[in-house]
């Protein structure tokens, strides 16, 4: 069977499985199968949350970025898991006790005004739309490879399919479909990792393989990797921080508090049966997420080693990497490179015209290395490999069986589609229900509300898709910006709503607007106004990362600090919070008396 046929077959089978489960679940008692029904076992709920959470950014993009960044890539790993600790302790149990259905409803009640909930909706829309741009980048990568088309065609096709998927909507919210998606996704991620870990170290568990010696030698894999990346002018894998320690620190904070501020994650914990369950279900979700997140660093390191080894086999044997025939010849390149060249995400340019592929860090600051490269006639790096393709290409690079390659494609599509569709649904309900119906058009009919939701969804996907053609970064980087926006607006206001009895509506609103405002200002200064290329400002005169060397993706932390400071300053200048609201906050702190969720939708 050809690879293309196997891929279609496995992708088709997995989708048949999701649809089959959706139909089967519907045929039974509908209510029971919704999370809100409350009869779902916490472990199942954890898997479903995992599928919801792990998007194109986690599945397709993250390991590739870690592969490029080395040690510094840990900011994604710590950031996107550590937030669950905050969520479990600081938000989930209290929001559950609060008994509302959505984040804007919480804001409307706790901050006793429609205006507060409108501000929250706007912040959510900005964060979610940015999130979808990142997802569309990932969708484009997955579809272009899956169908063998260019990346932009992949995005157009992906836009259409995501839209249908979201309108169909039935896949979403049914816990057992998501459990199936989780299973496909995690198998697709771990099976190739197990194969590759076996090949390289003889240890089948990737988490242990990464800390093992190379098969048949007594050199640790990470030590070997450190040596070979330096042989090609890259910086040491296990010690390279992301720009600076300060930047890596605030980047991690931004992702952590952003996790605890994103609507599609928080909503999961609104609807568990009890406060007690809200605490534990965050734990189960993290168990299933951590399986992927602890495998990712192994995928990253091993993919890097396999890629470098493919291009320049001499690095593994301490032979001369600069020898004229050390690098593979372009016309003898492996098939996987040809397949990815079609998408335009892998490119070769023969700068020195020798017909061989020189893949190295041509910006290396090591003078000794640069001298050797010049002596060997190297005229710059000739191979560009988009970081977002690493996970999907990884099993091909390692020459694993076709069914494994196909399985990874199926996992990538599942991850990209499920999260993008979920976010679109969140956007559509925020616009049609929380904004239009509650605020501007109270007599909107149910039919009109549905229509408005679909139009909002279509607009969001077109905007995100077009911006996804020229994305502000790799999929995971763009998603990180979305986390920063949520971190700077929603998280502080939620925290203050629960932990401060005196925070009033004026303070909360001013804080949110200031936090997201300053974050957007910094991001747009670097990435263009609303991510439109060519509209960058200030960086020309002040330089990149002008605020203490902090990159825009990490700026959510600064935004959150501004949010807290402004909120408390404004609070002290405005009217006291009403007594009944203070009493309500007091009551939210105690688990007893938690009612079923109201705030019908």
């Amino acid at each position: 069977m050809s690879l293309q046929f196997t891929t279609y077959l496995i992708v088709g089978l997995t989708f048949a499985l999701y649809i089959g489960i959706a139909i089967w679940a519907r045929a039974g008692s509908t209510k029971e199968f919704y999370v809100a029904g409350g009869s779902v076992h916490p472990v199942m709920n954890g898997m479903a949350t995992g599928a919801d959470w792990m998007s194109a950014a986690s599945f397709i993009s993250m390991a590739g970025l870690i592969s490029n960044m080395g040690y510094g890539g840990a900011l994604f790993l710590m950031g996107w898991t550590g937030g669950y600790v905050l969520l479990a302790m600081l938000l989930a149990p209290y929001l559950r006790k609060f008994g509302k259905f959505t984040v804007p409803q919480f804001f409307g009640t706790r901050y006793y005004s429609k205006a507060a909930s409108t501000v929250a909706v706007i912040c959510l829309l900005i964060a979610s739309t940015t999130y979808i741009i990142g997802q569309m980048t990932g969708v484009g990568v997955a579809f272009s490879r899956f169908l063998g088309v260019s990346n932009s065609t992949g995005i157009y096709i992906g836009m259409a399919i995501v839209f249908m998927y979201a309108v169909f909507g039935g896949m979403k919210g049914i816990t057992y479909t998501q459990v199936a998606q989780y299973c496909v996704l995690i198998l697709a991620y771990t099976i190739p990792a197990i194969f590759i870990s076996m090949q390289l170290t003889g240890n089948p568990i990737p988490q242990l393989g990464l800390g093992s010696d190379m098969a048949g030698s007594s050199v640790a894999l990470l030590h070997k990797l450190d040596l070979i990346v330096q042989d090609l002018g890259f910086s040491q894998y296990t010690t390279t921080t992301r720009l600076s320690t300060l930047n890596m620190f605030v980047y991690t904070v931004s992702l952590m508090i952003g996790t605890a501020g994103l609507p599609h994650v928080i909503v999961r914990f609104f609807t568990v049966p009890k406060v007690k369950d809200a605490r534990a279900s965050a734990g189960w979700a993290l168990v299933f997420i951590a399986i992927l997140y602890t495998t990712a660093p192994a995928v990253a390191a091993m993919a890097k080693m396999n890629l470098l080894k493919t291009i320049n086999p001499n690095i593994m044997t301490n032979a001369d990497v600069f020898a004229p025939d050390a690098q593979i010849a372009y016309d003898q390149r492996p098939d996987w490179m040809k397949r990815w060249e079609v998408t335009g995400l892998l490119k070769f340019a023969d700068k020195n015209g020798d017909g061989h592929i020189q893949y190295y860090n041509d910006a290396s600051k090591n003078a000794d290395f640069q001298a050797k490269a010049a002596a060997a006639g190297w005229k710059g790096n000739e191979l560009s490999v988009n970081a977002d393709i690493m996970v999907l290409a990884n099993p091909e690079i390692a020459m694993l069986p076709n069914w494994v390659i196909a399985l990874v494609a199926a996992g990538g599509l599942a991850a990209a589609l499920s999260t993008a569709a979920g976010l679109l649904l969140a956007i559509s309900s925020a616009i049609s229900h929380d904004l239009l119906k509650e605020k501007f058009m109270p007599d909107l009919t149910e039919k009109g509300e549905l229509m408005a939701g679909k139009i909002a969804m279509a607009c969001a996907i077109v905007v995100a898709g077009l911006l996804g053609l020229h994305p502000p970064g790799f999929a995971a980087g763009t998603v990180a910006i979305a986390f920063g926006l949520a971190a700077s607006s929603i998280f502080p206001a939620l925290m203050m709503g629960i932990f401060s009895k005196t925070m009033n509506k004026e303070g909360a609103m001013a804080g949110m607007l200031a936090g997201i405002g300053v974050t957007m200002f910094y991001v747009f200064a670097h990435k263009g106004i609303f991510f439109i290329k060519g509209t960058e400002f200030l960086v020309g005169s002040l330089g990149q990362n002008f605020f203490f060397g902090i990159e825009p993706n990490a700026f959510g932390t600064i935004g959150a600090i501004v949010n807290f400071a402004v909120a408390f300053a404004v609070k002290n200048m405005t009217a006291k919070v009403p007594d009944d609201i203070a009493a309500m906050v007091e009551n939210v702190r105690i688990p007893r008396g938690a009612k079923a969720v109201d705030g019908a939708h």
Binding site: Y71, A88, L90
Partner: protein, 84 residues
């Protein structure tokens, strides 16, 4: 309120503080700030600082949440505010 709500809230915040300290020390402490020093120690083939950043923190986070949920259940019962 008939319960000792001040005592309950104090106990809750105490537990949150303990968890946050551990959470901070393993990730930001061992994984970022002290990573260069810890990298001189090895855990199998892993430099220790690198391990905390890319593996250890994630495991410890999982344990922390379950430990918090269990301790919190005890506190709920002690102050008689648990759900029936």
């Amino acid at each position: 309120m008939q319960h000792d709500s001040i005592g309950y809230w104090k106990a809750t915040l105490g537990l949150i503080r303990t968890v946050l300290i551990i959470w901070f020390v393993v990730s930001y402490g061992f994984g970022i700030l002290l990573a260069p020093e810890l990298n001189n120690i090895h855990l199998g083939g892993y430099p220790l600082g690198f391990w905390f950043a890319q593996q250890g923190s994630e495991y410890i986070f999982v344990v922390l949440i379950f430990w918090y949920a269990w301790k919190m259940g005890k506190i709920d019962e002690k102050f008689d505010v648990h759900e029936n």
